[in-house]
Amino acid sequence: MGYLLKTDWWKWLCVALLSYTVIGGLFLPVPELPILNETIRVLHFHVPMWFGMILLFLGSVIHAIKYLRTGDNKSDIYSVQLANMGIAFGLLGIMTGMIWANYTWGEPWSNDPKQNASAISLLIYLAYFVLRSSIQDQQQRNRISAVFNIFAFFLMIPLLFILPRMSDSLHPGNGGNPGFNAYDLDSNLRKVFYFAVIGWTLLGYWMTTIAIRLSLVKQKLEDA
């Protein structure tokens, strides 16, 4: 019981924010729009997956750069595990998006520019893990995958933020749709959405820290 009180404050923040996300996200009034109906509430569950993915990948690339500068194995472990969780978030984002699209756009995959671009950036990150597992020498593997990580991150930015905006996309904020205004992201949605993003990202980070700790223990075992 004492552990629960002594643990990091942000873990409790995560619990509180996600509880609020589920309660507020399902109960607070939302804009009544045709076709969208209640599915507009998905904003608090589907969109934070992508925000979380980008933040986790950002953490991953920072540690990749750190690894290249210091050669510290710890940074490599951080970088890999953050990328791992980022991919999990991305896959959840794609799956939830397809379910939602099935009932609003009429089909799970409509080759929307943003759908395609997010699938491509996920494939690039999957290639990161293929690359890692294909190199035997540890130091070489860490260095090459860190370089690839930087490449993947800076390829993801135009894929997700620039290219979909240059063509017509069904996603709000792209093509003819101006930013969040298309959602009519009113004050009630804002009341939950930003907290949802922080909450889901914290949950992902929390699980990543556990994976990192396991990896560090494993390394210590191998070194000993």
């Binding site: 109906n37 949950l203 699980m207 396991l214």
Partner: protein, 68 residues
């Protein structure tokens, strides 16, 4: 005896059936809320899957430590 018990049960049953019980009927109405539920379940499932994977890794480590 059984006849009486059954009779009482049936009496209670019919009374419940007659009363307009307040249920979340609108919830099941055509508002596509089930899409939101499906999506929350998918996300929960994803996180459970990751938890099981972490659990497995921890178990493997414990075994390794035991063997040393």
């Amino acid at each position: 005896m059984l006849k009486y018990i059954l009779g009482i049960v049936m009496l209670i049953g019919t009374q419940f059936a007659q009363a307009q019980v307040e249920m979340a009927d609108d919830f099941r109405g055509e508002g596509k809320i089930y899409v939101v539920i499906a999506i929350i379940l998918v996300i929960l499932g994803g996180f459970f899957f990751l938890m099981f994977k972490l659990d497995k890794r921890a178990k493997r480590l414990e075994k390794e430590i035991k063997e040393k």
